[in-house]
């Protein structure tokens, strides 16, 4: 066994040394992306659109191609979108880079530092195992427990980290239970529950997915404030309805073949007891986390501190108490997402200032005859489709300016900017169908317990159900009850 591991480790080290090269296919994609701008430069400017607006749509297409095909890292596409606007004279460099001054960026940094402290001290693992102990009585309940626990943890840390945490926990349980990969429906549901639980949970708070703070940032630029509590007030009904329904879809799609779960129970209990008592730093991190969440709940509105100040305060407390070092931050904070965010927010800004967003909104939704119900449904469907084929932050970044433009341009529709943004932000998290749709899916898929066909089969039904849920919540709760 040890020999085998060493062999793998050696190979692993060799792989790390590989030099990445740009393939011919990637070069073609990059050329195609740039060609979009040239194409839009030569196309006649349609009525109602300025030259700058036309070029901005070219940039939007360029960004979409690069974010879908990923010939270069997503973050680098973000940087490209930022610098290409001053180069082409769409927006002055000063305005482009000032978008980074948005407090949502600092909220993201703070949230990632908090998450890294949770990960460093294994607090997330302890919470995950503790949660699973409540769901040990039957196989069906166990799979629900996996999904609910993933969702819960995605409220307090990024969804992809949660998927990476749950993968080894659940696989180790499946191995002890001798669950055969691909053959067992219990294995399939357990792993799919990780992927879907993380995606659904990431809608719940501003911490789960980077698209949430992005939306808050874009809304702030439009003079609309959304606090931590506001976000939860809007999103939680969707999470609470979607979670059991998607779980039900999995149960119907893959009827569980086992009845006894005592081996899993023993394994969970073993892992819980091997985790031992909470260490000093775990207690400190928990306290700081609880304090931060309380502050987010009650003091994140502009008249108090705002989201970012609280997130950074929490992070600084972690340093002061010695719970985290700069090395930990270097190891665990994905700075690339900040760059991606920068590209996304400047893309939206450019679309708004050149009125390109409004022009697209008019052209796209003219067919829907200014019917608010159809427009809401259209926005949800387009976002879900797009988020399944590209990075969800990218999908939200592309659609937010268009959604906001619809709301601004056609006020008589009764679709507010906040409503349109929430629809896009939350639909943007529903990447259920493909492995490539989100890292959470890819991480769960790597377990080998389900096929791409299984993911698509359950994903398409779950996506349809979630489209209906968001639609109903948008009409009844957001518009009807909250008056969004």
């Amino acid at each position: 066994m040890k020999e085998k591991k060493d062999k793998i480790e050696d190979k692993f080290r060799l792989i790390k040394g590989k030099t990445p090269t740009t393939s011919q296919k990637n070069i073609l994609i990059i050329l195609l992306a740039f060609f979009m701008i040239i194409l839009f430069h030569f196309l006649p400017t349609p009525e109602g659109l300025t030259y700058h607006g036309k070029i901005m749509i070219g940039i939007l297409f360029m960004g979409a191609i690069l974010w879908i095909a990923e010939p270069i890292p997503l973050a680098i596409t973000g940087l490209l979108i930022m610098i290409i606007q001053p180069i082409l004279g769409i927006m002055p460099a000063k305005d482009v880079f000032s978008a980074f001054g948005n407090q949502a960026v600092f909220f993201l940094i703070g949230a990632f530092i908090l998450a890294s402290a949770i990960e460093k001290h294994g607090l997330h693992r302890r919470i995950a195992l503790r949660l699973l102990t409540f769901f040990e009585s039957s196989p069906k309940l166990f799979t629900f427990g996996v999904m609910a626990s993933c969702a819960f943890l995605s409220f307090i840390m990024p969804e992809h980290g949660v998927a990476a945490l749950f993968l080894p926990i659940v696989v180790s349980i499946l191995i002890v239970m001798k669950i055969t990969p691909r053959k067992s429906n219990f294995g399939k549901i357990s792993m799919l529950s990780i992927a879907y639980g993380c995606s659904i949970g990431s809608l719940g708070t501003l911490v789960g997915g980077a698209r949430n703070p992005l939306t808050v940032g874009v809304l702030a630029d439009n003079g609309i404030t959304v606090t931590f509590f506001d976000w939860m007030k809007y999103s939680m009904p969707i999470v609470l309805i979607a979670l059991p329904l998607v779980w039900l879809v999995l149960q119907i799609s893959f009827p569980i073949e086992i009845k006894n779960i005592s081996t899993a129970k023993r394994e969970i209990d073993k892992q819980v007891s091997s985790a031992g008592k909470m260490g000093k730093y775990e207690i400190v991190v928990t306290s700081i986390l609880v304090l931060t969440i309380i502050l987010w709940f009650f003091f994140s509105s502009p008249e108090y501190f705002g989201l970012a100040v609280i997130a950074i305060l929490g992070s600084i407390l972690l340093f002061i108490t010695g719970s985290i070092t700069w090395r930990d931050v270097e190891e665990r904070v994905p700075w690339g997402i900040i760059l991606l965010y920068g590209g996304a927010i400047t893309l939206g800004f450019g679309m708004q200032t050149t009125d390109a967003g409004i022009w697209i909104a008019r052209s796209l939704f003219a067919a829907l005859s200014n019917n608010p119900i159809l427009i809401i449904l259209g926005l949800i469907i387009i976002t879900v489709v797009l988020t399944n084929v590209m990075s969800n932050v990218g999908a939200v970044a592309i659609l937010l300016p268009i959604g906001i433009a619809i709301a601004t341009d056609i006020p008589e529709l009764g679709v507010s900017r906040l409503l349109a943004s929430m629809i896009i932000a939350l639909s943007g998290g529903l990447a259920f169908m493909f492995v490539i749709a989100t890292p959470g899916n890819a991480i769960a898929y790597s377990s080998g317990y389900f096929s791409t066909k299984d993911l698509f089969k359950s994903g398409i039904i779950s996506n349809i159900i979630c489209i209906v849920i968001i639609f109903v919540v948008a009409i009844v709760y957001w518009r009807g009850v909250l008056g969004l």
């Binding site: 066994m1 085998k4 591991k5 062999k7 793998i8 190979k11 692993f12 792989i15 790390k16 990923e70 890292p73 997503l74 973050a75 990960e119 990024p158 992809h160 980290g161 990476a164 993968l167 080894p168 696989v171 180790s172 191995i175 002890v176 001798k178 669950i179 055969t180 990969p181 691909r182 053959k183 980077a210 190891e331 665990r332 904070v333 994905p334 690339g336 997402i337 760059l339 991606l340 990075s391 492995v435 490539i436 989100t438 890292p439 890819a442 991480i443 898929y445 790597s446 377990s447 080998g448 096929s451 791409t452 066909k453």
Partner: protein, 298 residues
């Protein structure tokens, strides 16, 4: 003396597959491959190597998708965790399944775990070792590729797990038709399954392939049918009835496999030209449509 000759002949007859390689990808696991491997290993007195391949493409895909969302450190930790789970899964589930079957039948076997790209790892192992048969499962919706179908020159058995009662050997104008008749007659005798032989004159690709696999100029259907008839009569002399059909190779094969309820379809070194947009090889297409097992006699 006669006895010695008989024994040697018997040994030669049974040593068609002396060393069997069973590659299993971490991406999917098909338990049925062990059952057919046990049957063949018993009949041919073969030794078996179980090769568990930790699929690099899956790991790379996870890595690439996590690129902007997770740090290099986090991705490495996750990658190591995943690899450890794969090893654990191979040891505790897959190898155990195999052990149960093989030890019961006293079949010699060994097991290896290698990380890499599926086809490349197998090609490497085949080059280094003296294998004469690969038995593997197949799944269409996979990240891993099946380049090995066209790159490896030993027979590849793709097991579907369906229990049917006959063998179908497929010959055509697009193959040398040398190994397929030999192996299929041999397998039919050893496995005790009736043999059906089909000769397809491919109307899409009207060339002839010679004994070393070279394609000729395009020929008339008349010429190709003449060659088919001559092949059929030579097989008839050996007691095998050949059905000649004109059509598209892969479609006719599928049709015949259904008609004869084939347990195994034996296909040779078919050199069919890919269409202008043909991304998949003939073998890959056949494997995708397979509800029956296929033996590619490469």
């Amino acid at each position: 003396m006669n006895n010695v000759i008989k024994k040697t002949k018997e040994k030669q007859k049974h040593s068609l597959f002396e060393h069997i390689l069973i590659p299993i990808s971490s991406e999917f696991y098909q338990k049925e491959i062990f059952e057919i491997s046990t049957v063949l290993a018993e009949k041919f007195h073969s030794t078996i190597t179980l090769l568990y391949i930790i699929e690099e493409k899956t790991l790379d895909q996870t890595d690439k998708l996590s690129d902007v969302y997770r740090t290099t450190f986090e991705k490495e930790v996750t990658k190591k965790e995943i690899i450890q789970r794969y090893i654990s899964s191979a040891d505790n589930i897959i190898f155990k399944d195999a052990k149960q079957l093989f030890t019961r039948k006293n079949i010699l076997f060994n097991e290896t775990i290698i990380q890499g790209e599926f086809s490349e790892v197998i090609k490497g192992q085949v080059a280094k070792n003296d294998y004469d048969l690969i038995i593997m499962g197949f799944e269409k919706e996979c990240v891993l590729n099946y380049r090995l179908f066209d790159d490896i020159d030993i027979p590849i058995w793709i097991e579907s797990g369906h229990n049917k009662e006959s063998l179908l050997a497929v010959c055509s104008n697009l193959a040398p038709n040398q190994k397929v008749p030999e192996i299929s007659i041999h397998l039919s005798q050893i496995l005790g399954l009736p043999l059906h032989m089909l000769y397809v004159v491919d109307i899409e690709d009207t060339v002839e392939v010679d004994s070393i696999g070279h394609r000729s100029e395009r020929k008339s259907l008349q010429d190709l049918t003449k060659r088919a008839r001559s092949f059929a009569s030579s097989m008839q002399e050996r007691g095998v009835q050949v059905t000649i059909v004109n059509g598209i190779l892969e479609k006719e094969t599928e049709k015949a496999a259904k008609q004869y309820e084939a347990r195994l379809v034996i296909v040779g070194r078919e050199q069919k030209k890919r269409g202008i947009f043909g991304l998949k090889s003939l073998k890959r297409k056949m494997a995708e449509k397979c509800e029956y097992s296929i033996l590619f006699v490469n």
